[in-house]
């Protein structure tokens, strides 16, 4: 059976600092330097058809070694 985690990690190892898209069965569909470029390539392939993809990003060594403070609390809706 296709292991999403194993395939994701394999593609991530080969594409540090890049965004990538995989098909549902693990085929590498596109690699790009930004999300916008990645979606352009996905749309070139699928047109306006409904998509079903895995989208990943491979963190750089510097990003992996940076500690995180991720907090996005709501103040108010406008």
């Amino acid at each position: 059976m296709f292991s999403l985690l194993a395939r994701y990690d394999e593609v991530a190892r080969q594409n540090e600092g890049k965004w990538f898209a995989l098909s549902r069965d693990g085929e590498l569909l596109a690699v790009a330097s930004s999300q916008r470029r990645l979606w352009r390539r996905i749309r070139e392939r699928f047109g306006e058809k409904e998509v079903d993809v895995v989208i990943g990003y491979s963190q750089t060594k510097e990003e992996r070694e940076t500690a995180c403070l991720l907090v996005f609390p709501l103040m108010s809706a406008v």
Binding site: L4, Q35, W39, V51, I55, F72, P73, A77
Partner: protein, 132 residues
Amino acid sequence: MSVSVSIDERGLAWLFVRVKGVKGSAVYRACVDTGATYCVLSEVDCVNLGLIRKGRVVLMTVKGEATAKLFVAPWMAIEGTELAKENVEVVAKVVPGFPVILGMSFLRHFNWSFDQEKQEFSIFKKSPARSP
């Protein structure tokens, strides 16, 4: 039904999450953030998946106040599980290095815990209410 993942060397938990919109669905490796009111996904992803626009929100971040577009994902789930929720609020923001932040707009519909001994984050369905 539960899912457990080991936290990484930075203390972060990552889960594969499927986000479904009206134009398609995508699976992301999402970072769990119990301090985030909303889930976070970039605007280009929100638009390409066909998430529904809901308005704007004001956010307090470590860099101060910011406004962002708010979308609703018609369906979101931990990939390969029954841990799913309809109409999840998602803020459109780019967080460099993080494709998706899994915030409380999704997490509050489930039980979750951290096992200090195993260094694992677990998420599971809420137990049905017990009769008195």
